[in-house]
Structures are given as structure tokens and as C-alpha cells.
Symmetry: C2
Subunit: 348 residues, 2 copies
DNA sequence: TTGTACGCGTTATCAT
DNA sequence: ATGATAACGCGTACAA
């Protein structure tokens, strides 16, 4: 299996042009050392030969990759693809390439990807942890090694870590208060697991609002589960085993809401007539589907921009201490939906 | 901006353990040369130190990356995320890491990503071209350089290229014949641009079926556009400017169908009562949304598996000539929907 | 302005 | 079973 793919190197160009490797290297990188004339000559020739710099060699020698690693738990929903786009945009603007990996909400995958990205010596890491991530040892190690690391959305809390996230607690609270203002009193919550900040905080916000308005929360009206459609489906089914149904359900994510819709179909329940739904986070539920799904809007674009900002500050050693940014959510009564992914993507 | 991140190297371990670098290298890679005892000793120590092999150095020295580059046009729909998952699975199973890049349907992005991946010296490339890709020069160059390259779904046709795709023409034909069998005669097509195989072939299939059944196709009932929601929205609006409306519309993609649904809402048209829709490709349109959206199912999983197979064959030089695989589509009358992205993700 | 020498961390080859 | 040496392709420091 010996292959000889003739990748052009600086050496090849140098020999051919009767100059030194260094000259070629500098010329191609627009180093001021080299005269405009030779630069042009070298560039032209390199181009003709189809020269592609060797990332590894460059990386090894310069000890910089100009690359940041990005790990997300999933891409099958609305939220992360939008966020990824925003991160790409911000990173490219600063001349960083992004290497994207998907953990599929699995802690082992996440670990493996972290190691791969570390071995690539990315300049920094952007991570939204998986739902299953409980062992934070690797992150402590990374922290110790000094590699810039910023969490977003799904974060590990602790003074030593940087992150950018939504104020989930307030978000949930907003949603519930909206429901209450609309006239609902019997409210249930399909929650995320307590192990992850999102599940924890949003549930706390739910409880906050209910307490504030002196509304009771039957124990079995808070159902914990994953953050995906399946959890929504199962959670709703479970909820419906009770004799007394709530009037409205707050779901921890948009995906969970989708699952609820599906379950409602299967049970022959109409939304919002029989039971209503409100959720945190939005997505491409088609407007014709539910006339009434309100939600708490997450400032996705701002989050992407901010998290890249923070990371780059760290990469450039401008941030001495961890930064923790908490963005405000906003209530949004659904009208129409614009899919961010279809927006034009600006050039670098 | 001088940073000293102490990345442990083989050398560090070697010195500390009073062995040579080579021994450490071999031990960590389970080379048969090394005795079990020293292997254990070295591995244990390396672990304690948190050693992470340097991808670049390894890559440079071994001239293999064990990595394949993957470029997709978008991730904001159902199709590509599912496909990506299937590709990941297949690639990981063969011990390849995947580096994913997104072109956002922009030819420049695609080019830039290709160069980045080439510079990383990935072992092979998997590409679904952007809607805007017309200049295929870079692919010819890549082909000449001998780097394994396999297109999927959105492909560049030509005997010199390998690809795995759906039989789009037959798919469209199937869809239209289903519509005809259902009783529809007045059928329009929101098509993709002719520049891309998908737009071309699916439109041809549409025409095939109409001709076969002696049904007329008014010129303005074939409307070309992009493959996204926006195109569906605009296309439908344009279609509705005609005096005579079709009974059903075949959309080139699922995303386009979504756009049609949205436009229908805005126009106050009911689907399927006023006008029906059928499409190629499926997605998470909620079952409660449209009782009648049938579609042509694309064997996503098989496609992902196959394309990785073909690529790895090429990487291992087992395929002397380009391979072109065309998978059969299948008509699917929608009942319920299972989101592939939420399926369990098998470990490597 | 151009070139020389060396090192980056790893692996392959060839000894011992 | 273990080790010395030379690459891999490029960038930096310094010399010419």
C-alpha cells in the first residue's frame, strides 16, 4: 500500500527556480523580506504547480494552527446548525478555520473528539457538552495545560471555566409567566436531566415562576428526560397517564416540543385546544402546524459571535481570567419563521 | 504573544523513563517489537502525564492522516445531517476520523475548504458539491494529484469521477406517476437549477412521466430555482400568478416543499384541499402538518455506507478505476416520521 | 534581499 | 527487545 502522491513542496519550487526554500516560503507568505519581483515569479510558479502548503509541517514548525475546534452534541435540530453558522462566520472573519465535530450526545464520542482536536493542536476549543457528560476531568486537564477553552450553551459551571450561555432560568420563568398571563394555571414541565445546566436551570426557572404566582406544582408534573424528540414523546405519554392533565406544558427544548406534538397526534389530542405547549428555543416547526406555539427566543447569533470573541481573546492572551457571559432570553410569540440557515453566508 | 503550553512529547516520556524515544513511540502504538512489561510501564506513565500525540508530527512523518475530509453544502435540513451521521459511523468503524466542512452552498467556501483539507493531507475526500459549483477545475487537479475523491448526492458527472447518488430521474418519475395514479393530471414542478445533477435529473424524470402518460406540461409550470425553502416560497408565489393552477406540485427537495407550505399559508391556500404537494426527499415535517405529503424516499443510510466504502477502496488502492453507484429511490406514502438523528449512535 | 542551520514531534530504517 | 539516525515540510533566527 505504498502510495506516491506527488505533493509539491517548497523544495520542489525552490530547486526549479534556483532559489532557496526560505525565499519561497517567505515569498508565498508575503514576507516583506522578499522583493516584489521574485514574489510574483514564485507565486506564479507555485500556482501553476498547484502547490498546497502542508498544514502539518506548518503547524509543527510554527506551533500555531490558526484553527479552532468546535464540538456540538448534535446537528439534527434547528439550534446548533444556526449556531454553527454564526460561529463559522465570526471565526472566518478573524482568519480562523473551524474544525467541527459532533458528539451525538455521547460522552465517549466527546472525549475522543477532544483528544483528536488536542492532537491537532488547535489554537482553541469551543464546546457544548453532551447531555451525558458528567466526568469533567478532561476539561480540568485541558484547563491546566492552558489551551483556551470556552463552553457555550451547554456548559460546565465553575469559576475556572469560561462560557457563554443563555440565562436559562430567566428564560423558563419568562415562558411560564407568559402562560400564566394568558390565563393558564395548571402547568407542567417536561424537563431535561438535572445533570446538565440547561435541564437544571430551566427547571429552576419553571419552579420560580410557579412559586411566585402561588401555583401548585404536582410532583408528577415535572418529568425529567433527554432534550430530544423521543424524550418529548415519552414524557408526554407518561404525563397523560395521570388522571388530571395540565392545561399547558413547558418543554425544555424545541425538540422536546416536537415529540409532544407527535405524541398528541397519536393520542388524538388537539393542540392547543386540548392541551397547549410552550417551549424554550425555537425551530422550523411549520407555521401551519400550530397556531399557538410561543417560545423563548435564544439570541443564537449573538451567542456565536460572543463565544468566538471570548475564545480569541484567550488565544491572544488578552484575557487573564475566565470570562462568563450570560445572555438574556426574550419571549417570542410566534408569528412567522425565518430559517437562519438559509441566510446568505458572508465571505471571510 | 509567546505562549508556552507544555505539551508533553515522546521525548519527555523517554527521558523520564530512561528509554529511547523510539521505544516510547512503539510502545504507545502497540508495536510488537516492545515487550509487554515496558509497554505497560510506558503507557501508564504517558497516561499520567496526559500525553496527546501530535497529529501534525505524526502526519508529517508517517505520511498518513487516517482522516477523511467531508464537505457538505448545508446542515440546516434533514437530509445532510442524517447522511453525515451515517458517514461518521461507517468511517469511524474503519478507524478514520472525519473532518467536516460546510460550504453553505457557496462555491468559494467549497474551494477554500478543499484547499484546507488538502493541506491537511487528508487520506481522501467526500464531497457533495454546492448548488453554485460550476468550475470543476479544482476537482480535475485533485483527480490528477491522485487523492481519492468520491462525490455523493450532488455529484460531478464524468467518467473520471467516482460518485454515489440516487437515481434522481427515476425518483422524480416515481413521484409523478404516484400523483397520476392518485388521479391528478395537472402537475407542476418546482425544479432545481439545471447546473446541478439533482435539478437536471429530477426535472428530466418529471418530464419522462408526463410524456409517458400524455399529459401536457405548460411551459410556466416548470419553475427553476434553488433547492431551499426560499426557492419553494418564491416558486410557489410565481406559479400562483398564472390564471390556471395545477392540482399538485412536485418539488425538487423537501426543503422546497416547506417553502411551498409557507407560501400557501400566506396566500390562504389549503394543502392538500386547494393544491397538493409531493416531493423528493423527506424530512421532519410534522405529521400533524400535512396529512398527505408523500415523497420519494432516499436510502440515506445506504448512501453513507456506500460512499465511505468506495472511498476507502480508493485509499487502499483497491479500486483501479472510478466507481459510480446509483441507488434506487423508493416511493413512500407518509405515515409517521422517525428522526434518524435521534437514533443511538454506535461506538466505533 | 537572500540563504544557512536548526528545530518542531514523530515514524521508518537499520543497527545493536 | 531496544536504540541511533535520518527523514517528513516548513518557519525562525541569524548570517551573508
Amino acid at each position: 500500500m505504498k502510495r506516491h502522491r506527488l505533493q509539491i513542496t517548497l523544495n520542489d519550487i525552490a530547486k526549479e527556480l534556483n532559489v532557496s526554500v526560505v525565499t519561497v516560503s517567505k515569498a508565498l507568505r508575503d514576507h516583506p523580506d522578499i522583493s516584489e519581483r521574485t514574489k510574483q515569479r514564485i507565486k506564479k510558479f507555485a500556482n501553476e504547480l498547484g502547490y498546497t502548503p502542508n498544514f502539518s509541517a506548518r503547524n509543527l514548525s510554527s506551533r500555531r494552527s490558526n484553527t479552532i475546534g468546535l464540538i456540538v452534541p448534535k446537528i439534527g435540530n434547528f439550534f446548533f446548525p444556526s449556531l454553527i453558522k454564526s460561529i463559522y462566520k465570526a471565526a472566518n472573519f478573524q482568519n480562523y478555520d473551524v474544525i467541527l465535530m459532533i458528539s451525538y450526545d455521547d460522552a465517549e464520542n466527546e472525549n475522543r473528539h477532544l483528544k483528536t482536536l488536542l492532537s491537532m493542536r488547535v489554537d482553541g476549543l469551543l464546546v457544548a457538552i453532551s447531555e451525558k457528560t458528567t466526568d469533567i476531568q478532561i476539561y480540568e486537564t485541558i484547563k491546566k495545560t492552558g489551551i483556551p477553552l470556552v463552553f457555550f450553551d451547554r456548559v460546565i459551571e465553575g469559576p475556572e471555566f469560561s462560557y457563554v450561555k443563555i440565562d436559562d432560568r430567566q428564560g423558563a420563568c419568562l415562558a411560564v409567566e407568559h402562560a400564566i398571563n394568558t390565563g393558564y394555571k395548571r402547568i407542567a414541565h417536561l424537563a431535561g436531566f438535572k445533570e446538565i445546566n440547561i435541564g437544571r436551570d430551566r427547571c429552576a426557572g419553571f419552579v420560580d415562576a410557579m412559586k411566585k404566582h402561588n401555583l401548585p406544582v404536582p410532583e408528577n408534573w415535572i418529568i425529567e428526560g433527554s432534550l430530544n424528540e423521543e424524550a418529548g414523546y415519552n414524557g408526554f405519554m407518561k404525563l397523560c397517564q395521570n388522571k388530571n392533565l395540565p392545561e399547558i406544558i413547558l418543554t425544555v427544548t424545541f425538540s422536546v416540543a416536537i415529540g409532544v406534538f407527535q405524541a398528541a397526534i397519536d393520542l388524538g389530542l388537539k393542540i392547543p385546544e386540548d392541551i397547549d405547549v410552550i417551549c424554550i428555543g425555537e425551530g422550523p416547526i411549520n407555521p401551519f402546524a400550530s397556531p399557538s406555539l410561543s417560545c423563548v427566543y435564544q439570541p443564537i447569533d449573538e451567542m456565536g459571535t460572543k463565544v468566538v470573541e471570548v475564545l480569541i481573546r484567550q488565544i491572544q492572551n488578552l484575557a487573564a481570567v475566565p470570562e462568563q457571559i450570560i445572555l438574556p432570553p426574550k419571549l417570542k410569540v410566534r408569528e412567522t419563521f425565518v430559517r437562519q440557515d438559509e441566510m446568505a453566508f458572508p465571505k471571510r
